[in-house]
């Protein structure tokens, strides 16, 4: 009996609870006719259903956590001593074999008799456990159903209780997102702190050389393990800068066109189309950059007598800029639309033309919001990975020349963690330090941008 079957049974019981609760309120009784009830019948149904569901669900959750521990203990008990005293990781493998056998998954070779025996024991204990679980779920569910049903009285304010329960549900949902963010931040922070025990933060933040290959053997050459992240920061800034040079003018101008010039029909198809750009997977942009833009730039460079690396900051930046256009245009379009029509009317009423009105009234009024939009786009550019991995190269050159290959923080994080790695060398830990920097920078940008945008909104509300 799998957990999902149990869950389905529980849900069935819950629907019964809902119907029963609702019915009790609809029918009422001689002493309590329906209109004396505080809330609508549906709320009583919801109330009983929640009472039926939640305790049983809690029981199920506890069971899911406890059961493996019990099973493991049971298997160990039944094993001959030489197996029971296996080291931890070997025992884990053994247990996995047992589980595979029980669940009928493919097992290599003929099963070991010890495994066979353990599997039987495992299956047996699990069966009992599941029967017990089913029994207790039913008892808890039905008991709480009956308990709740008896509380369906006219004076019981079911609506308030159900609304409260919904509120908790919503709080829970948002807590998931918030706690995850905090959790990610903390884990990155702790790993980064481990890195800073190996490499000093000063060297990391201000060092000019990045070559994270550490020697595995003492006698290896060329693996100095330098962790100066400045080349990465510079590369990131260079590429993001190029991207913003593309995205800000193009995005802003298309936002102006869409909000001020385009008729409603044009707007209704042009805007979604532009936003579609944001929906293209970044990998696609990546090979667009690597396969077409890079070689095209190289050929152009040859024609002009310039040395262009086939993987250049320029190519990656251009494509990234295109990717970011919809961010800038969509957000700017919103802030431009939020500029009150009365300001435009005031300007037109003085005899200003459309472009004068836009340049001198609409844009200045929308400026704080546009700055916010641009900052959000910058943080997006800094965090972008795929395009740069594919188009900007891996060479950690400290260079401001957009025609050379550079590398970025995100690219290095990827390369440091791809492949088989020990997770306690300075090399892999460096990825977390880089991640921390990235996290802090984008966080700061987002906070500033959101504040700017919000402040601007308030101004006109």
């Amino acid at each position: 009996m799998s957990i999902s079957t149990l869950l389905a049974a529980l849900l069935a019981l819950t629907s019964v609870a809902y119907i029963a609760g609702r019915r009790r309120a609809v029918v009422g009784s001689a002493s309590a006719p329906i209109r004396t009830f505080h809330s609508l019948p549906g709320y009583y149904g919801g109330y009983v259903a929640l009472w039926c569901l939640l305790p049983a669900l809690a029981l199920l959750a506890i069971w899911v956590v406890v059961e493996p521990i019990v099973l493991r203990a049971a298997v160990i008990d039944s094993l001959p001593p030489e197996l029971a005293e296996l080291p931890e990781d070997r025992f884990g493998l053994f247990l996995a074999d047992v589980r595979n056998l029980v669940d009928g998954n493919l097992v290599f070779g003929a099963p070991d008799p010890a495994v066979q025996a353990a599997a039987e024991r495992y299956a047996e204990v699990r069966k009992t456990s599941r029967h017990l679980l089913l029994g207790s779920l039913l008892v808890v569910g039905v008991a709480s159903l009956v308990f709740a049903l008896r509380r369906v009285q006219p004076a019981m304010r079911a609506r308030i209780k159900v609304e409260k329960a919904i509120e908790y549900l919503l709080i829970g949902a948002s807590l998931v997102a918030i706690l995850t963010t905090i959790g990610i931040f903390l884990s990155v922070l702790f790993e980064a702190l481990r890195f800073f025990r190996l490499v000093s933060p000063i060297d990391f933040l201000f060092g000019l050389e990045w070559s994270p290959q550490t020697a595995i053997r003492e006698d290896q050459v060329g693996s100095s393990g330098a962790f100066g992240a400045v080349p990465l920061f510079v590369g990131t800034l260079l590429i993001s800068g190029i991207a913003m040079l593309v995205a800000v003018p193009v995005g802003l101008m298309s936002a102006i066109y869409l909000s001020e010039y385009a008729g409603p029909r044009m707007r209704s198809w042009a805007k979604p189309l532009l936003e579609l750009l944001a929906g293209i997977p970044t990998v696609v942009y990546g090979y667009f950059a690597a396969l077409w833009v890079g070689p095209a730039l190289r050929r152009l460079g040859d024609a002009l007598g310039l040395e262009v690396a086939s993987e250049s900051a320029l190519g990656a930046g251009l494509v990234m800029g295109i990717m970011i256009i919809p961010f800038v245009s969509s957000l700017s379009d919103d802030v431009i639309n939020a500029v009150p029509q009365s300001l435009r009317d005031g300007s037109y009423g003085l005899g200003a033309t459309k472009s004068e009105t836009i340049r001198q009234v609409v844009l200045p009024a929308a400026l704080p919001g546009i700055v916010g939009a641009v900052l959000l786009a910058v943080s997006r550019a800094i965090g972008e990975t795929m395009i740069v991995v594919m188009a900007a190269g891996l060479a950690a050159n400290l260079s401001l020349n957009p025609l050379e290959a550079v590398t970025t923080v995100t690219v290095q994080i990827v390369t440091l963690l791809v492949g088989d790695q020990e997770f306690d060398s300075a090399k892999t830990l460096a990825a977390f330090a880089l991640g921390l920097v990235l996290f802090l920078v984008t966080l700061a940008l987002n906070v500033v941008a959101l504040r700017v945008v919000r402040k601007y909104r308030e101004q006109y509300e």
Binding site: R344, G346, L350
Partner: protein, 294 residues
């Protein structure tokens, strides 16, 4: 922008011949189905509107209106909400061009130029026929820049001293100079509502228009600020023609020389203000001003 082109295209036909109608447009009924009571002419007309119709899509919002706007007089447009006062007002400097669905027919002349003709430059028109809106709408710029906005875009000042002069004179005439002369660089949005509205008036007169259109300029103001603006309107009358839309009978009676009463898109009655208020000739006018209606 589209409306702009549409309006110009329409204006390309000779203004005197009836305009062609396509199948989709509601055919303007050739003859008015009603007669305006009273004399729509002014002694010294600047703007003459003849058989003006405005449509919003299929809605006939202004019907066959004839009205003159005369020099040195304030004319009040009154009438129940939705009767088309703002719509008519906005015809006079072609602010309806900014509304996608609006379409204007008929003839409106500023002196003897048809303002809907192809030769008419809306930029020049709006410099000559200025507008003050219901809600004060100062630009999010400094007080100085608010007033200097019009003169700058029309190139009215040769240098900074001249611009300073225009700004000061306009603020003085709007009765705001003494209150703001020490804080010209502060944002116009930081002023009180009444000050903002006077700033908007200063902004409008800075381009020396010939006609000023005011759409309920005092509806967002308290009685004291209202009284100041009414005084101001009375002063401005010496040099301009003023059209004011108002919901306040008392205000119409206080500031205007002529009054026009609109009802459901029609100009019902027009005449000298004291006559309209003491001795209305049309039943609808009488009902409205005695408060039995609206």
């Amino acid at each position: 922008m589209r409306m702009f082109r549409q309006a110009t295209a329409e204006a390309m036909q000779p203004a005197t011949t009836p305009r062609q109608t396509t199948a989709r447009e509601p055919a303007p009924s050739a003859a008015p189905t009603y007669r305006t009571v009273g004399d729509h002419r002014a002694a010294n007309p600047i703007i003459t509107a003849r058989d003006v119709n405005v449509y919003y899509g299929d809605k006939h919002a202004i019907q066959h209106v004839n009205l003159d706007i005369g020099l040195n007089e304030v004319i009040a447009l009154i009438g129940p909400s939705g009767c088309g006062k703002s719509t008519f007002l906005r015809c006079l400097n072609r602010m309806n061009d900014t509304i996608e669905s609006a379409r204007v027919t008929g003839e409106i002349k500023l002196y003897d130029e048809d303002i809907y003709s192809k030769q008419m430059d809306v930029v020049m028109l709006r410099a000559r026929v200025g507008m003050v809106f219901q809600k004060p709408n100062p630009f999010p710029k400094s007080i100085y820049d608010n007033v200097a906005y019009g003169p700058r875009i029309h190139g009215l000042a040769r240098d900074r001293t001249e611009l300073d002069e225009i700004v000061q004179k306009s603020l003085e005439r709007a009765g705001l100079w003494n209150e703001v002369k020490d804080r010209l660089e502060e944002p116009g949005t930081g002023l009180s509502g009444g000050q903002q509205q006077r700033l908007c008036i200063a902004r409008t007169i800075a381009v020396s228009p010939e006609v000023i259109l005011m759409d309920e300029p005092c509806s967002a103001l308290d009685p004291i600020a209202t009284a100041r603006i009414e005084d101001l309107i009375d002063e401005l009358r010496q040099n301009y023609a003023i059209v004011i839309v108002t919901h306040s009978m008392q205000q119409a009676a206080r500031v205007s020389q002529r009054t026009a009463y609109f009802h459901l898109g029609r100009l019902i009655e027009v005449g000298k203000t004291e006559e309209i208020f003491t001795n209305p000739r049309h039943k609808l006018t009488e009902d409205y001003i005695t408060g039995r209606f609206g």
